[in-house]
Symmetry: C2
Subunit: 336 residues, 2 copies
């Protein structure tokens, strides 16, 4: 299994990518890693850390796409950047998977241009795994498509369902439509129409998911436009921080509560781990002819390691081929 990593993307580049790659090479004997990036920065980080160096290749690149670069312009002009080269390599080897913690807009635009969409897919979408009360839930689209049409949401539901089935091993993932009410007739112009399309899709459609249901464990996949998804993902981050920050404020007011918090340290650590995105690897860009993962910009070595672990499952599950097959069937049925 080949995993291509844009070593220069993200706040902690290239150290985070290199550390994650080395840790993964030690733990997983079935992977091969290609790092794209500045040789002079990457090579000094590789020395003597007890791993099989024969399964690691560094492809030198001279440019870097920065976080504030305009996406399409950067992809077109920085042809020798670590991100563009990683995409080039992926497009030649679609059974591989690429990981980047770089500029999200550039990754979405570049993947669409260079890795290319699966035939019949209208828009690739970002899928993120979130912690739920029981297990996990996949949110799709997390921000690739700000303005959506109903048919996009139908495809997001199909892709998300395939992902949870192939990567998480769920038999019939329950797919929900994020909506402002539980009843079928509720919704915006977009979601009312999307509801009917999801109902007709070859998935286990479980109806509307209201805001309070998203993390309840009642759904395995929740579908929305990228505007809503982006706001929800960042709101979750903000809520967890705000709620725990408030609690901390009340704890320090009392010596007894402070002692109690010390005794609860183990429980807090587990909660922090459960809410920690580094445990969940990265977001997936689904709908492309190869696997593309977007790691958080602030990813550390541990987060890259988790991403590589998830990438292995994505490759084993053959997610790209299954999406291709299902979308082909659906379009065939619609054309008939």
């Amino acid at each position: 299994m080949k995993i291509i990593i844009d070593a220069m993307g993200g706040d902690n580049a290239p150290k985070a990518a290199v550390d994650g790659a080395i840790a993964a090479l030690r733990d997983f004997s079935d992977i091969e890693i290609v790092l794209t990036g500045d040789e002079q920065a990457v090579k000094p980080l590789l020395g003597g850390q007890g791993y099989d160096a024969g399964r690691l290749t560094v492809v030198h690149t001279a440019e870097v796409i920065e976080m504030n670069d305009a996406p399409v312009k950067a992809i077109k002009e920085k042809k020798d950047s670590s991100m563009v080269r990683a995409m080039d390599l992926l497009s030649k080897d679609p059974r591989a998977m690429m990981i980047s913690a770089g500029n999200t807009g550039a990754l979405v635009a570049g993947s669409t241009l260079l890795v290319k969409r699966i035939p019949g897919i209208k828009r690739p979408a970002l899928a993120s795994v979130l912690p739920a009360a029981k297990g996990e839930v996949l949110l799709i689209d997390g921000g690739a498509n700000v303005d959506c049409r109903p048919a996009y949401l139908q495809q997001f539901g199909i892709m998300g369902s395939i992902f949870m089935s192939k990567v998480f091993g769920l038999e019939k993932p329950r797919v929900g439509l994020i909506n402002n009410g539980g009843e079928e007739e509720k919704g915006s112009e977009l979601t009312k129409e999307a509801y009917q399309l999801l109902k007709a899709a070859p998935i286990n459609f479980a109806g509307n998911a209201e805001g309070r249901d998203l993390l309840s464990g009642g759904f395995d996949v929740v579908v929305c436009d990228g505007f809503t998804g982006n706001i929800l993902l960042k709101f979750l981050e903000g809520c967890a921080k705000t709620i725990l920050g408030m609690l901390k404020g009340y704890i320090v007011e009392s010596a007894q509560a402070k002692l109690g918090a010390v005794m609860m340290k183990g429980a807090f650590t587990k909660l922090k781990k459960k809410m920690d995105y580094t445990e969940y690897g990265a977001a997936l860009l689904l709908g492309l002819r190869g696997g593309v993962m977007k790691a958080h910009g602030s990813s550390n070595g541990r987060a890259f390691y988790s991403s590589i672990r998830e990438a292995r499952k994505f490759i084993s599950g053959d997610v790209v081929s299954v999406i291709k097959e299902e979308i082909g069937k659906l379009n065939q049925a619609t054309a008939d």
Copy 2:
């Protein structure tokens, strides 16, 4: 100050409304309360509780709008319902304020039909006060208008700003636009255009508010369409429950953590209080010729009491007149 309460709305009707009204009559000598509802159900709850009964009137109504009634149909057909009668009374006395814990759709539709919009207001909007890391933040629209145009969002910003200034006493409330990125050029078709309109409005517009900024304390008002707002409000409820539920699960795994949690009981109680909607009164329906408050369907007596306390501030701040004046000026300026 006259406060009209739909005593038959909500899960705990009519007891919750009556209990809240009596407690408020005891604490606030400057209010007069009108309860609309079934006399036979309401009157037995009023007996001998040591308050000034001279400031309480019961207006008998024979019908009730149920939670699952179709909104517009219910308003048109149930003319002798506690909700419709409360609206009738408010429309004759626009300095008063009405409170209902009943069917939200019926309340929004009915208020627009019977209380009527302020001239120049395109759409009334639901405004909810949320707990933030520092102080509070007003979210508007919380669900009255599922599909919005940019001009609606501009008016929501103006109304929200007036509310936080007149009711919370903030000098120049910082108004943010809920968006999927911090930069001016980010957004959906709707928010890109709304950004420019909010920038031009006579408010302290502080730019885009990303999901993680909503509760950070960096904004006093955050503006969005009612689809996004409804999902965010319910997601906040779900997040708080899920996060604290996870923590509880980890606590019961260890005897030491259980003891620690007991010692932290005070801190947990404060957090619960801070996150408790009953402390925040209700949502406001802004943009109408009278003040309309939507209390949570599960409101208890304490929640009604809080709503009445907030209603007093709304009346004192003369929010309706100030909105009327500001929208008049804005429309005049646009016409010039």
